[in-house]
């Protein structure tokens, strides 16, 4: 408990110090609970998520960093490895391949990389996975782009 708190505090200080280091990621810690974080990540360019801003929520376990944080998308996203309803993410480093050397910041980077490189063979969103697996890249991209517009684009005005 104490160890996870200390480590999260280090991460917090690091985030404050390097706020502008990675303009695609904006990590924010909950005001009253250091185990709760949110992040805003920008959809990577040259993907159907480009132009969108996606919100992630982190629930950090007390055994962190020996156990991975639980992360999910709060913003709706059409992606083979993200559950369409719950926002749950299928990513190896959040499960078996977790290493305590990962940080919340690097997890965000891994999620951005996953957005750019979907893995249709281990889908949480079967519709999305099936489109890609059947070779209908255009179909996948237009669906993903539509949801980016609908759910992830900053409202004008």
């Amino acid at each position: 408990m104490q160890a996870s708190r200390a480590r999260l505090f280090k991460e917090y200080k690091e985030v404050q110090r390097e706020k502008s280091a990675d303009p695609d990621i904006q990590l924010v810690c909950d005001d009253s609970n250091i185990f709760k974080w949110t992040a805003l990540i920008k959809g990577p360019s040259e993907t159907p998520y480009e132009g969108g801003v996606f919100q992630l929520v982190f629930a950090v376990p007390e055994q962190y960093p020996l156990q991975p944080p639980q992360v999910r998308f709060l913003t709706k996203i059409f992606h083979p490895n993200v559950h369409f309803k719950t926002g749950e993410i299928c990513l190896d480093i959040l499960k078996n391949a977790w290493s305590p050397a990962w940080t919340l910041q690097s997890v965000c980077r891994a999620i951005i990389a996953l957005m750019a490189h979907p893995e249709p063979d281990s889908p949480l969103n079967c519709d999305s996975g099936n489109l890609l697996r059947s070779g209908d890249v255009r179909g996948y991209q237009s669906m993903a782009r539509m949801y980016t517009r609908l759910a992830a684009s900053p409202k004008i005005g």
Partner: protein, 268 residues
């Protein structure tokens, strides 16, 4: 352990433990990739890994580089270190007793300090070397453990004993020759047998073997002579600084780790 913070010059400040992100307290290294962590951090992670049923039981992937490692090396004090294997607790540190540690320190003293005590020349001249020494095996095992810091040294021990045995047999069969020739051959044979395992410590080791045989003493009695001669106390809380201080009075030998064959050994 509290660490002094705020000194950005400190290398730990720039290189924090990847697990707690704080300055490394009690350095611990993985045995293959040599990435550094706090001892407590990496051991905690090791336990998490070991508790997973699906995992390969005896290795640990480095959290930083994913290299498979087998043990954590820590408590390095200039001449000795501790080693904790994955999934084995600290079995190793229980086998590596104070006596082993003490013996290893003896190897850092000047060679030949006991030459006045034991008459090596007479040992060879008198032909005493032709008689088997029943205490040798026990002593050999302990010293090999002390030098290699490995528990299972039986293969090395039997290899060396085998070489000595065939030397003895050929000496007993063959004609008597000059004792110094026999001595030379003996030391050469033992050195060749030990070299692959002991590296640069071989020469001193061979001298110790000869000295122990010439002494005709049991292991404990032999240790006693060393203790008396060096006026070392065999106390568990003997710190490395003390040992090095006294060591440097006796010796110019600089203690350092012989973990692997050094590159300059490969060169020759």
């Amino acid at each position: 352990m509290k660490q002094v913070e705020g000194s950005s010059e400190c290398s730990d400040g720039a290189n924090p433990c990847p697990i707690c992100l704080s300055p490394v307290s009690q350095d611990a290294y993985l045995d293959r990739c040599f990435h550094k962590y706090c001892y407590s951090c990496i051991v905690r992670w090791m336990k998490v890994i070991a508790s997973r049923p699906s995992r390969q039981a005896y290795s640990l992937k480095c959290p930083l580089c994913k290299t498979e490692n087998f043990s954590v090396i820590y408590g390095y004090d200039g001449s000795t270190f501790q080693r904790q294997y994955v999934n084995q607790g600290t079995v190793n540190s229980t086998f590596y007793s104070e006596a082993h540690k003490y013996r290893l320190q003896c190897y850092y003293t000047d060679a030949g300090i006991l030459n006045d005590t034991f008459n090596v020349t007479r040992y060879w001249k008198s032909g005493k070397y032709l008689q088997p020494n029943k205490w040798l095996q026990h002593w050999l095992k302990r010293d090999l453990q002390a030098l290699t810091q490995e528990e299972d040294v039986d293969i090395i021990m039997h290899h060396i004993l085998g070489v000595m045995d065939s030397f003895l047999k050929s000496e007993q069969r063959g004609q008597r020759r000059a004792p110094d020739l026999s001595q030379k051959e003996f030391k050469c044979l033992v050195a060749n047998a030990a070299q692959p395992f002991l590296g640069r410590r071989t020469e001193r080791f061979v001298d110790e073997v000869e000295l122990f045989l010439a002494s005709g003493l049991t292991m404990d009695a032999y240790d006693e002579v060393y203790t008396k001669h060096l006026r070392w106390k065999r106390q568990p809380e003997e710190t490395s600084e003390d040992a090095e201080d006294r060591g440097s009075k006796h010796a110019a030998t600089i203690p350092y780790l012989y973990l692997f064959n050094d590159s300059d050994e490969e060169a020759d």
